[in-house]
Amino acid sequence: MLFVAVVGNTPKNYRTQIKLDESLFVRIGQNDKDALEELYHKTERALYAYVLSLVRSTHDTYDLVQETYLKIRASAQLYRPQGKPMAWIFTIAKNLSISHLRRQAELAGGAEADFENNLEYSYVSDPTDRMVLAATLNKLSGEEREIILLHLVAGLRHREIAEDLDIPLSTALSRYHRGLKKLRKHLMEQEVIL
């Protein structure tokens, strides 16, 4: 299959740094809707990419992202400014995701979910895009997925990712390059790209 790039639909706001004012949480804690909207628009893409990398299910990602925002609303007044607001958001999302995956594993009785034949990818209209997404979610390790999705989809810089995930920059970079290489190799083998 030939890889076809669709010109004119390139990602916008790529490499945009998320600059969050920590006072947003104070305002959200006071039920300030504008503050919540500002937080949502600035963080949703990164949060979605992060949760998707953790749970690999679009439905679950949808629910968990929403749940994360609700949790932020409920606990925003308790937030202590420490200079890393995005790290706190990722922490909430990760804890919710871990909790969700545990419950799911208990319900499935130890059986692994079949991500390969996930029908959720049908949301994606372009077959190539669908295959690239499926390969990203299924062929990469969790650590590689995190970095690839946060960098390529959410547009976070490697340094931001390293700080938000509390890992060294060199680790973030090596995981990114290793993941991308693996993804490229798989897609070439599948003749998705030439």
Partner: protein
């Protein structure tokens, strides 16, 4: 290819269902009173704070360690290897001794042929200045550069630290005398302290003489008309000082002469140890049995009834009267 993957991945994720802002904003929530394990900040926040704290502490400790090592090394270097003082000994041999802050000899070199000849077979580096001085003057006596007819030494201490230079001058005066007395020799010491000057150093180096001798010659030339550098450079210190004395040059502003100058031409009183032939005062407890010589004209007119304190002053006065070289105030 990477860009294509990025575009494709980005487009795919954009098409997935995302919760809308309205869904997030409209859903009712109960404000929490305390963090639960989902929202707790402590672990990560503390970890971050600790890491930053550690980073700064580590950096500060590293800087302090570096500064300590740097200044320690510099201190060690400056104490041991940097030149602190230079001493020029001029008889006719001219010898330059450089020392560190601990007064240990770093280098000794002869500034003229005679100086180089004296140093042959000797190694002074690493020795204390006192040890080197004694050895050096012993060598000058052995090689007959210092003898009864030529026993005047110009001792010049060059240092930025004037107090240190004065102390060195005093110590050297003592060491030289002790060294010479061990060799049954005597010396007349003329001392000076000099602040380091690049111009003087360069000129002295080009003329092949010491800085001390150059300053002595220049001082004389300022007072004695008709003298030339070329004519004075070959003269020994003894000859230069005799010339200054004969021409009536006053060098007291720059040079000091030790106060127990011993002029062998003046007969000592048998009971007198160190007064250059000054007749004993009747009140002198040390030697009251020896009668004074009231008619001795060599005492420069000092009254015979002076006490001990006055006696120490009289030495200077007598010296002034004898040598006519230096004017030492009482």
């Amino acid at each position: 290819v990477n860009r294509d993957i990025q575009i494709s991945l980005h487009r795919a994720v954009e098409q997935l269902p995302h919760p809308s802002f309205q869904q997030v904003a409209d859903c009712p929530v109960e404000p929490m009173e305390d963090h639960d394990w989902i929202t707790q900040q402590n672990a990560q926040a503390k970890s971050k704070t600790w890491k930053w704290g550690m980073t700064w502490r580590t950096l500060a400790a590293a800087c302090a360690c570096f500064a300590f090592m740097f200044f320690g090394s510099f201190q060690l270097f400056s104490q041991n290897y940097m030149i602190d003082s230079t001493i020029d000994f001029d008889v006719n041999p001219s010898i330059e001794v450089t020392t560190n802050k601990k007064d240990m000899v770093l280098k000794v070199r002869g500034l003229n042929e005679e100086g180089r000849a004296v140093l042959e077979g000797h190694n002074f580096e690493g020795k204390s200045l006192e040890e080197a001085t004694r050895e050096l003057f012993g060598a000058m006596v052995d090689s007959s550069y210092l003898h009864a007819a030529q026993n005047t030494v110009l001792l010049s201490v060059i240092s930025k630290d004037e107090a240190h230079a004065k102390r060195l001058e005093s110590d050297l005066n003592l060491w030289v005398k002790q060294a010479l007395s061990q060799s049954n020799g005597e010396a007349r010491l003329v001392g000076q302290t000099i602040l380091p000057s690049g111009d003087v150093s360069r000129q002295a180096e080009s003329l092949g003489i010491s800085r001390g001798k150059l300053i002595l010659i220049e001082s004389m030339m300022q007072q004695i008309p008709g003298l030339t550098l070329e004519a004075m450079i070959p003269l020994s210190i003894e000859e230069l000082l005799d010339l200054a004395k004969n021409e009536g040059a006053d060098l007291s502003g720059k040079f000091t002469l030790d106060d127990d100058d011993d002029d062998s031409s003046i007969p000592d009183d048998p009971g007198d140890d160190d007064d250059g032939g000054i007749p004993d005062d009747p009140g002198d407890d040390d030697d009251s049995s020896i009668p004074d010589d009231p008619g001795d004209d060599d005492d420069g007119g000092i009254p015979d009834d002076l006490d001990d304190d006055d006696l120490s002053k009289t030495k200077d006065i007598v010296f002034m009267g004898r040598s006519n070289l230096l004017h030492v105030s009482v």
